[in-house]
Amino acid sequence: MSAALEMHGVSKTYLDGTDEVHALREVDLTVEPGRMVAVMGPSGSGKSTLLTIAGALETPTEGGVRIAGQTLAGMTRDDRARLRRRTIGYVFQDFNLLPGLTAAENVALPLELDGLAAGKARAAGLRVLDELGLADRASRFPDQLSGGERQRVAIARAVVGDRRLLLADEPTGALDSVNGEAVMRMILNACKGGVAAVVVTHDAQLASWADRVVFIRDGRLVDHTAPRPTPDTLLPR
């Protein structure tokens, strides 16, 4: 199976007036299916730019991006939009749920927008809510859900259907620690189901849920953690 995300030599340069701003410099990042990678760095380090390029929302100035085996360079606008709808799920700090739709309808919406019949989309939505432990919230409207539940519904929406790549920007931003933990546990469960996740954060507690943490500084990936040992090696004996 191909990697969910491959970034090779990706650079992004903006023009700010006459000044060149190097938001990303020669970034290499591969995320395999079922893995969670956290990108940690201070504000302005390029974390969010990395996520928008990984999510096919922006194009790199240099370098190549492949998502689930598909090369972004040379894709038509329509193909790119289809890839975004079908393969990539996005989670942002503010939940972006539509207030007039129930949790199940919100989760089913991306599939309906992609042309799936309403009944089938709804069934797929209910299935993912059930898998992620939210079945009893399916018929509630966003204003009947707590902040933590809203964000968990947003994650369900981001992984519904055949999504391969979940991209999250500070997904627990406004939540307390209990709800933040529930959100991370849910992303982890989605990964156990085969989705790859990239979580951008400045928060080490959040990042520590990931299989691998990469550190970004001034647009460059400067370091990463070693693979995680088993917890048994942690406790003194």
């Binding site: 940690m40 201070p42 933990e181 546990r185 982890l188 400045h202 080490a204 507690q205 990042a207 520590s208 849920w209 990931a210 943490v213 550190f215 500084r217 400067v222 370091d223 990463h224 953690t225 070693a226 995680r228 040992p229 088993t230 917890p231 090696t233 942690l234 406790l235 003194p236 004996r237």
Partner: protein, 189 residues
């Protein structure tokens, strides 16, 4: 960690044997504080000397000897639980000292040194977090220990992040000036 008071707490539930005390101590501290049986008996002897526990007079020393808490022991335990630990002066934190030394060391790349420590702390945090993945299986004592450890490590990462940012903004001369910490904060020698 006061083994003395932990043993008093266990005995406040009722009389117990030494070996039982060791097993219960380890279970309640999420098994992160292993205790050898020798420590348990030495501590019990001192508690008995101070009249905070009593033992079965006729039993031989060893695993069959039972202990119970006295009224004085119960008072001592209640007072200890409410006495704040001494956090008034900064600990001699090795990480802080390394960064302070690196800042003034000619030729040292302090940002790179900070990153080495940041990575190590995050790796430790990943190990602790992994224990939380299956919440249903997590013993309450261990969950509290894991949270405490994660917050402690997280505070160090945050300090490194803050130090990194502060050093990046600081003009060059600020990195060579002598620190004024003692006069300003009254840190004890």
């Amino acid at each position: 960690m006061s083994i003395r008071h932990a043993l008093l707490a266990l005995l406040s539930e009722g009389p117990k044997y030494g070996l039982q005390l060791r097993e219960e101590f380890e279970a309640r501290t999420g098994e992160v504080w292993p205790l050898n049986v020798g420590q348990v008996y030495t501590t019990l002897q001192r508690l008995e000397r101070d009249s905070l526990v009593e033992s079965d007079d006729d039993a031989e020393p060893g695993p069959q000897k039972g202990f119970r808490i006295t009224a004085g022991g119960a008072e001592e335990l209640a007072a200890w639980l409410r006495t704040p630990p001494d956090l008034s002066s900064p600990p001699r934190d090795e990480l802080v000292i390394k960064v302070l030394i690196a800042v003034r060391l000619p030729g040292a790349d302090v940002h790179e040194i900070i990153q080495v420590h940041r990575r190590h702390l995050v790796e430790l945090m990943q190990q602790w977090t992994r224990l939380k993945e299956d919440e249903g299986d997590l013993d309450l004592g261990l969950a509290l220990v894991v949270d405490a450890e994660l917050y402690r490590l997280d505070s160090l990462v945050r300090w490194l992040d803050t130090a990194d940012g502060r050093l990046k903004r600081a003009p060059a001369p600020a990195r060579t000036a002598a620190p004024q910490i003692r006069r300003r904060t009254g840190v004890r020698r």
